[in-house]
Symmetry: C2
Subunit: 326 residues, 2 copies
């Protein structure tokens, strides 16, 4: 099979490609070719059993989507997005990439006529806006408080309508905050959820800018890849027309995150977390969802971690080769 | 004040204009000018105390929105839409008029810079898709089962985001089925809700294609105009960022509609309703919302009828000069 990955150079795309390179197949079908599109060149995985084609292009330019789907890939994974902060800072760019980009793709497929691929659209819990219930259920309305969340909610609506009309077979997956994110600390407001685990395990100090009582919704990068694999291979006849699904995750407080780290890595590692309250980040995080009752996705076979210790263990296995700095 | 009405030649637009012509003002401000845009020429009301400018144009053509807002109207009422059946039959036309048209308008306002009008966007309960709860509350998710409903749900999301960003001051109002609709019977699947009242009151037979147990959500044309007036004049500081509101209405069964007609007009009028079951219409109507708990709109001051008898009386007063054919 031929898989087209839009935004294939990002963290989740890279890990998805690595997983396919490892197994060589997806849903019992051999992967023959991957086309990884992004605004920067995606790198081929080390041991690569399939043709790997890195395409550098801007999906928000008319005609690019047509070129990308001309060879009719069996599966399209749409990960490309301007992130929340940038979409808020640059209104036009956010709408151009996140809304028009998705729409151009959907339109290109529709107009190609008779070509009906599986399309996996990654969305976000940013489609929800405070105030929330303590646990957000699958029928809660989407009232985003960011342009990014608005663009994702619109993408979900389009995905559902194009699927209902039979133009493609779409699955929308709302990712939890991915934790523990590998790599260097970044400036995302959510960065500290990963930083306070990753950095101490590397022997480095990390800053915690919010209170220990802050509760949030997490899943590991491994789970994120699992969501993509399942969304790409599942029998969609069970979904019905409501194709935007909140993915499962694990809800815990920062205190519970730290407690899990203590159990796994010990007091010395936890001592590398330094509390430096930041009212700005505290304010941003206060508007975020804390917990979900993601029943539909679970019933449809999506799986995530069921403890934060598990999330830390996945990080130590997948990123640190089983070791950390005591 | 100068009011721009997009889709001003339709039934609701016409009635809104008539009401303004009658009072000469809106929210204690004198109406100086109305620009009524539509794809056909809107007619000036009989006694017209303001400048009335009928503009024939297609809002889905780039540049039209800029021309319409060039004179910076204080209030914009956006009623223009391709209706449900047509948006389903002609996919491209529906997206072009209902989605792109709204977006061009919003973009034109944003790009004008510093101009921040009130924008009233009429939406629909078609943003909801079955299965529903028996009463749909204000936090129920929007999972439309038509392209029209999808386009309206996207319009609401854009309206909220553009308002949140301060580009204009938007209010989205989801209209109930308007009943009793004046004029000749039309082919809309919902037409019978009005036909079975209007035609018998005119001494004409009407066909009822569904069972007496069908429950639906109604408000009069007079209430629809009241929603527009309130949305145009209310203090929006109380709304917050969730600016798409399900309007109040009255939920009743067809049997209750007929019973109300019997009370007001007598058995002879009711006898003009002929039951001719139509499984196609029955099937369509089965997917429609039956009842709402439209608490937020009510708390924000929107009002509708509280009985179906009241809805019939409004029709007899406003359309029949107080008389009907016994």
């Amino acid at each position: 099979m031929h898989i087209l990955i839009l935004g294939g150079a990002g963290m989740v795309g890279r890990k998805f490609i690595e997983r396919l390179a490892h197994s060589g197949e997806l849903g019992a079908k051999t992967v023959d070719k991957i086309t990884a599109q992004d605004v920067v060149a995606a790198h081929a995985p080390a041991a690569c059993p399939f043709i790997f084609d890195a395409v550098v292009s801007d999906l928000s330019i008319e005609g690019e989507a047509e070129a990308l789907i001309a060879s009719k890939p069996d599966l399209i994974i749409h990960l490309a997005a301007v992130v929340s902060g940038e979409a808020e800072a640059d209104f036009e760019k956010g709408y151009r990439i996140n809304l028009d980009g998705a729409r151009y793709l959907f339109e290109a497929i529709r107009k190609s006529g008779g070509y009906k691929p599986r399309v996996v659209f990654t969305s976000s819990v940013a489609v929800f806006g405070a105030p929330f219930h303590d646990r957000i259920d699958d029928e809660f309305f989407t009232t985003p408080l960011t342009s990014y969340g608005t663009q994702k909610a619109i993408g979900e609506l389009l995905l559902c309508d194009y699927s209902r009309r039979g133009f493609f077979d779409g699955v929308g997956i709302r990712l939890p905050t991915i934790c523990v994110r590998p790599g260097a600390p970044n400036k995302a407001a959510s960065g500290f959820f990963s930083n306070i685990i990753r950095e101490p395990l590397n022997g480095i100090e990390a800053v915690l800018p919010v209170s220990d009582e802050v509760r949030h919704w997490h899943a590991s990068p491994r789970s994120a890849v699992g969501f993509l694999v399942h969304a790409a291979t599942m029998d969609t006849s069970a979904i019905g027309p409501r194709r935007a699904l909140t993915m499962p995750g694990f809800s815990c407080t920062v205190a519970e995150q730290i407690e899990a780290l203590r159990k796994i890595a010990g007091e010395g590692v936890v001592a590398r977390i330094r509390r430096v309250p930041d009212p700005v980040i505290d304010g941003i995080v206060a508007g975020w969802p804390r917990n979900f009752d993601a029943r539909r996705a679970a019933a449809l076979g999506f799986r995530a971690e069921s403890s934060f210790e598990e999330i830390i263990r996945v990080h130590i296995e997948d990123e640190l080769g089983g070791n950390f700095v005591k």
